[in-house]
């Protein structure tokens, strides 16, 4: 009995502390406004991670800079997937006006928790909103920004530097789902646009050199590998073979460019956060989420490695490098992670 009282006491203590103060992590702006006028936004992320934190911080600063009376609560499940629905239920009970779930499962949980409620949901960083169930007929209060890189952008990356490219070579590890899905999308786009390509998949890294040589022998002008963790760990082998033949290697992650790849196009998390904040402001100003289809990124993180360019003897015009950030200088100075 005593123990039951102890627990009840703890709970009562928690309850009272929140009844007269804002939810955890509150950063409120426009304190002069009355409680009714303040627009409550909850940003919920599943765990701490550099890119997720960057999205959150961008949304917070952009909303605060808007000058509107917005009360922002940032919540984090700290990697405990069971806490997501708890956090979101708390947000709902506290009567938030809008919720911003970051990442796929958070957005799906938000949809379930806010089911039958007209609270708008503006998701961030969901790679495939349709597959995630965020675009159906029951999603009229849901919009957001996807972090998917369309295949067209990948192909554009190659044609930006090599407008005369005749044939693209795709190299990937067959067991890596992310890598395979990127390549499949790129292949579908090439089929549609009538662009010739060759592909070779490897089962393990010992086949990498042979695979790269095979593609080169088939006359490809450019090599592309997506965000492939295995190949990312062997960029030196990969680029030695390719650059010796004068073929540039494009890839799906900035880390791969830092390790010797030539150029990449990736998610710009600040841009993503800004687009989400813009959607939040639109909904706040009265736009109906049903009229706002989900967005893809309007700008990407683009990086080049100038040292790599020297290794395969690039002679691209300066104009091709416009909009690209230099990740590795000609002398090998790396800005990666800086």
């Amino acid at each position: 009995m005593a123990s039951a009282l102890v627990i009840a006491g703890i709970l009562a203590g928690c309850g009272s502390s929140s009844s007269n103060s804002a939810p955890s992590g509150t950063a409120s702006s426009g304190s002069a406004a009355s409680a009714q006028e303040t627009y409550k936004v909850a940003i919920v992320q599943p765990m701490s991670h550099t890119s997720l934190d960057q999205i959150r911080d961008t949304i917070v600063s952009k909303l605060e800079a808007s000058g509107k009376s917005i009360e922002i609560a940032t919540e984090n499940a700290n990697g405990d997937s069971t806490a997501l629905s708890t956090i979101l239920s708390n947000c709902k009970a506290e009567g938030v006006d809008l919720v911003v779930p970051i990442a796929t499962s958070t957005a799906q949980s938000a949809k379930t928790v806010f089911d039958g409620d007209s609270t708008p949901i503006v998701f961030a960083a969901v790679s495939d909103p349709t597959a995630a169930g965020l675009t159906g007929d029951d999603c009229q209060y849901i919009t957001g920004v996807s972090n998917n890189i369309p295949a067209a952008e990948i192909v554009k990356l190659i044609f930006n530097f090599q407008p005369d490219c005749q044939k693209i070579g795709f190299l990937y590890t067959s067991s890596e789902a992310n890598s395979v899905s990127t390549i499949n999308a790129a292949k579908a786009y090439c089929d549609q646009e009538g662009i010739a390509y060759e592909e070779v998949s490897i089962a393990n890294l010992s086949e990498l050199q042979t695979a790269a040589e095979t593609l080169i022998s088939r006359g490809v002008d450019a090599l592309y590998t997506g965000n492939d963790n295995s190949i990312a760990s062997a960029m030196a082998t990969y680029t030695d073979v390719a650059y010796a033949a004068g073929i540039p290697v494009y890839c799906g992650a900035d880390s791969m460019v830092a390790d010797g790849g030539f150029a990449t196009i990736g998610v710009n998390y600040v841009q993503l956060g800004e687009q989400v904040a813009d959607l939040v402001l639109k909904v706040m100003d009265g736009a109906d989420p049903a009229d706002l289809p989900y967005e893809t990124l309007s700008d990407y993180a683009k990086f080049v490695n100038l040292q790599a360019a020297g290794r395969f003897g690039a002679d691209f015009p300066d104009s091709a490098y416009e909009g690209y950030d230099v990740l590795v200088e000609e002398d090998g100075t790396s800005h990666f992670g800086a």
Partner: protein, 318 residues
């Protein structure tokens, strides 16, 4: 009203995890063997349930998910009894192997939403939400006013019915001959063997039952949240253990049926604690530590209670 809806939300979540707590109770308290298969079998129940739900059979999906958990438990027991691998390691191995299986069940992706392809009235290809037991159940309450209009309250009610039936069934089972044999295996395996009962068989049955319960929990959660995700199994065992121990602390050791009920009660209370922890005004990264401290405090209660009791007796003696 705000606190009522938060309480209902915490209770509905706690009820969804209650079968998992029952499963952990079966291994830890009845078989008295730690089983780390839980983190894997929970997700196995979830993924199999998702696949069958999308195929259009929500009730069958729960049974399939439960059976999947039993299968996972079978392999863990096989490693324990036939290969004589340490129980802890057996569980870890099966849970690790299940990662690949779960990945494959989800069709080579980490997240699957319960929806299917269909054609809408305008003739366009769209995705529609797959029916789940919770969706079908809440359809019964369309137009209801009051507490039962809350979707969490509907989830709580339906899950409560399932968990109550489950607890009653287990309560009866553990007093039947096979149930008694499983309990005896946990109490004294040597004695069981010398009574010419096949202890490997009873142990296998116990571990299968436990993981079936855990997987049912995953299956129920899958239908409630309407998606399966490979990351949903993390720290499941810790949660189940905390629930069992909190339940035991609060309700005491009250025999088999009391133990089952207190595991369910512990699961409910654990979710209330977590929900309350997220309500405290502090950065949310601090919640992990706070909830740990609250659980530790709950665990310390029996000792404190004993010391107090001893202190009182001492006082009287003087």
């Amino acid at each position: 009203m705000v606190y009522l809806s938060m309480l209902i939300s915490a209770l509905s979540q706690g009820m969804l995890y209650a079968p998992m707590a029952l499963g952990v109770f079966v291994t830890f308290r009845i078989l008295k063997t730690p089983d780390l298969t839980v983190d894997g079998s929970f997700v196995f129940g979830m993924t199999v349930c998702a696949a069958v739900t999308i195929a259009g059979h929500p009730v069958l999906a729960l049974l399939a998910g439960t059976a999947a958990g039993a299968l996972a438990g079978f392999f863990t027991a096989l490693l324990q009894t036939k290969l004589r691998i340490e129980p802890i390691l057996s569980g870890i191995l099966v849970a690790a192997g299940l990662y690949t299986v779960n990945y494959a069940v989800l069709g080579g992706q980490s997240n699957l939403y319960l929806q299917y392809d269909t054609v809408n009235s305008a003739g366009a290809a769209v995705k529609a939400a797959s029916p789940t037991i919770y969706k079908n159940f809440s359809a019964l309450f369309a137009g209801t006013e009051g507490v039962l209009a809350d979707s969490n309250a509907q989830v709580l009610l339906l899950t409560l019915i399932i968990v109550a039936a489950l607890t009653a069934g287990l309560g009866v089972f553990f007093f039947t001959r096979p149930g008694m044999a499983i309990r005896a295996t946990g109490d004294n395996e040597e004695m069981v063997r010398s009574s010419s009962i096949n202890a490997d068989l009873t142990r296998t049955a116990g571990v299968m039952l436990a993981n079936a319960l855990v997987a049912l929990s995953g299956a129920l959660l899958c239908q409630q949240q309407r998606y399966a995700d490979l990351n949903c199994g993390s720290s499941m065992l810790v949660m189940g253990l905390a629930s069992v121990i909190i339940g035991q602390v609060l309700f005491g050791d009250r025999g088999m049926v009391g133990g089952l009920i207190s595991a369910v009660g512990g699961s409910l209370l654990y979710r209330i604690i977590i929900q309350a922890a997220y309500q405290v005004d502090m950065p949310s990264y601090a919640v992990k530590l706070l909830s740990t401290l609250i659980v530790v405090a709950a665990l310390a209660v029996p000792l404190v209670r004993r010391k107090l009791a001893r202190g009182q007796r001492g006082g009287k003696a003087q």
